[in-house]
Structures are given as structure tokens and as C-alpha cells.
Subunit: 229 residues, 2 copies
């Protein structure tokens, strides 16, 4: 590392791709940019580290998401660093992209109250004017989510605290864009030991459906094989 | 993103954990630090982006490794971003850690000529004074390498261009710290379609061993199941 040289520092930002599933549609949280660059275009929620507030980049991501949604996401992980001289007109820039999941219900009312934040169906993104390389970052995240959904039960983080197997199945099917066998999902749910059976049932399609919830100490189990679809 | 505010920027560095296997030992490239902070301690090869030279962080990592080894690594991937107010005495710092592999033979002569760079057996790291949180970053990388070795043939990047199955097996066994069945490795080699049989053989333990090499257009295949060991 250079000791006493003067270093031209790149811009460093943290941006989050927050997904949810709502009405059988995969949606991503986008923010209409109030300032330059890309004023008026839709971008990912994110920004600069506040070195007085944040202990690390995870906290930057959570803080910026809480600003827009009133909520920190149920799941958050680093996706990738993207960098280059041309992605930001202000100069060489580096962004750490996070990928995150939340239940639509948890944040719906807050988002409705923030004029500049909106859930956009991923399939409609190409119709919007988007900022920076955020559309490519969303596509990378979508691929990661799809891939992880084949070998884990990650989509549970798009559901409310109590959910039915039918709801979990529907969310997974929306993400992988393929139908699923209920039997093979049930086997995974049991093998994962991630869930507990609630003492409540809800009415679903004329019968009572069991409600499940994530155990407090649940680890996200990665299966050795992808889901057979 | 803040538009016209004055932002206190964190330090941003790129550091690489370059592994090789030599004499049945997993080794990591360390550099004795010539300057403060941590002058005289051993650290990872890395440093600041040069925004006039580098097109992105991958190029920063490759350039810094080439400085120390005379070579760019056979394999390089992003590991993780680590950040915080206390990891660097100069202030809040963010580092993007890469994890990389190289054949010992490719870089041995150059490294011998650079006084400040040295291959250190990973098992001996605790005996050294190390800089920053670099020891933890190396441990994270070692776990990633071990995990990936269970479902891919990544350790081939620690071998010279032409190698025997025995050499590949030895490198894998060093990384996973367990013996391997030759048969199951052979099945993976065939299934991967990553290699071609060279028209050369070398003498190995009293018989002739076939030499293999990586195909030019080889993709790194991830197997659905971990190696059975």
C-alpha cells in the first residue's frame, strides 16, 4: 500500500437489490432519483457510507433500505463489487451491491407513503429509464436468487412470519419460473429443520391449511442437489 | 445518493489471498510491509485502485499480484468486502478481498528475487506478526477454497500446464485435508470435460503416467454433489 503518496480515491457506494414477491410477481424496490446524476431516473436504494454512523457496509445497506421502507430486510447478503471509470459521470466509481429479501406486507404501508420509492415488477424494468448500470446489477441479483432458490429455501424471507406451504410453493414457483412438485418441497422443508408448525390454521380453498414459521435459531440449509423440476 | 454534500470517504483497498500448493503444503503469498501502518508485519499483496491505470478492481488485484510475482494468477475471484472503523489506524476502511490460485512453478523464480514477498504455509501464519485483519481474511479464503474443492476441480489452477492425475489428486488432498478415492476423481475429470489428454507421459513411481492439460475454452464445472470422502 502506498504510504504517503496522494491517492485519487474512487467514489465508493453501497447499493441494494431488494426483492419481494407480490401477486405472483417478482418485484424490486426502485427509487426515483431526486438529484444528479441520472435525476428523475429509477435507481437502486443506496448511497455512500456514513463513516460516523455505519460500523460496516452491511449497516450502510440496512440504513439506506430502512430510509426507504421503514424496515430492515429479512435477508441480506453481499452480491458483488462492480467498478469502472465510466459507470458514474462523477468519476471512477466502485459499488458494493447487496441482494436482499423482504415480505411485501412488512413494508407495503411505508413504501406507499414514500413518493419516490416503488416496487417495480422485474419484467417491466426495461420499460423504465434506469440509472447507472443498475439494470445489469438487478439482473445479476435475479440470477443469484434463482440459483439459490434451487438449492435452499431462501424465498421464505419473502413471506410473512406465518405462512402456508402453498404460499411458500407459490413464491418459489414465481422465482424459478417453473412449476414445482409439492412432495419434493415437503421433503426439503422437513429435512431442513428450519421451520416449526404453528398452532394456527387458516382457511385456504375451502379447507384449513397449516401455518408454519421460521424457527428463531434457523440456519439457512443448502441442499446438495438442486430441486428437481 | 447525496449530491452536493461533502462526504468523508472511507479508504478503499483491494487485497488478494493468493494460494498455491507446494511440497504437499497449502501456502499463501505474504508481503513484508515496508511502510506504516504495520511496518515490518506480513500482509496480503494489495493496495489502492489506481484510477488512471485500472479499469476495475479485478485489474487492481492482478496488477498488485503481478508486481510481487511477475505473473497474473491462473484463477481470481471476489471473496468478500470487509469494512469497519477500526481495521486500519488511518481511519474507516473498506477492502475488497480476492481469492486467487497459481502454480508454484510459474512464479517461484520471480518471488525468490523479491525480498519482501514470501510463500508462507497457512499452518504457520499464527507464528507471524500479521497486518490489519489479514489473518482472518486468509482463513475466510481457505474455507472458500476448501468448500469449492468439494464441488469443483478448481485446484487444477495450482498445477503447471501439464499434470498427472496423481498430482491433481495430491493437491486436492492437501486442500481438503482428507484422502480421496482415485476412482471418484477420475469420474469427475471425465464428466467435467474440462481437460484433454496430452500426447506426453512422464515417469512416475516406476511407470509412465499420462499428462493432462486444461482445455483452452474450459469452463469450471460445479458438480451437484460434494466429493465423497
Amino acid at each position: 500500500m502506498a504510504g504517503h503518496e496522494i491517492i485519487k480515491k474512487p467514489l465508493f457506494t453501497v447499493d441494494s437489490v431488494l426483492f419481494t414477491v407480490h401477486e405472483d410477481t417478482l418485484k424490486v424496490l426502485m427509487v426515483k432519483r431526486a438529484q444528479q446524476p441520472f435525476q428523475g431516473a429509477w435507481g437502486l436504494p443506496g448511497g455512500f457510507i456514513d463513516i460516523d454512523l455505519d460500523q460496516n457496509t452491511d449497516m450502510t445497506a440496512r440504513r439506506k433500505l430502512a430510509d426507504k421502507t421503514g424496515f430492515t430486510p429479512n435477508y441480506l447478503e453481499q452480491l458483488q463489487v462492480i467498478s469502472g471509470p465510466d459507470r458514474d459521470p462523477r468519476g471512477f466509481s466502485v459499488t458494493l451491491a447487496y441482494f436482499a429479501l423482504v415480505a411485501h406486507q412488512s413494508v407495503a404501508s411505508h413504501i406507499d407513503s414514500v413518493e419516490m420509492a416503488c416496487w417495480i415488477p422485474v419484467s417491466k424494468l426495461k420499460e423504465l429509464t434506469t440509472a447507472f448500470d443498475h439494470r445489469q446489477i438487478i439482473e445479476l441479483s435475479r440470477q443469484r436468487l434463482k440459483q439459490k432458490t434451487l438449492y435452499s429455501l431462501l424465498p421464505v424471507f419473502c413471506l410473512p412470519q406465518k405462512f402456508t406451504i402453498g404460499q411458500l410453493m407459490a413464491v418459489i414457483e414465481t422465482i424459478i419460473e417453473k412449476p414445482l412438485q409439492r412432495k419434493s418441497l415437503m421433503r426439503r422443508i422437513e429435512a431442513s429443520e428450519m421451520f416449526e408448525i404453528s398452532n394456527e390454521k387458516i382457511s385456504s380453498g375451502g379447507r384449513l391449511a397449516q401455518l408454519y414459521s421460521l424457527k428463531l435459531d434457523a440456519n439457512i440449509v443448502n441442499f446438495e442437489r438442486n430441486l428437481s423440476i
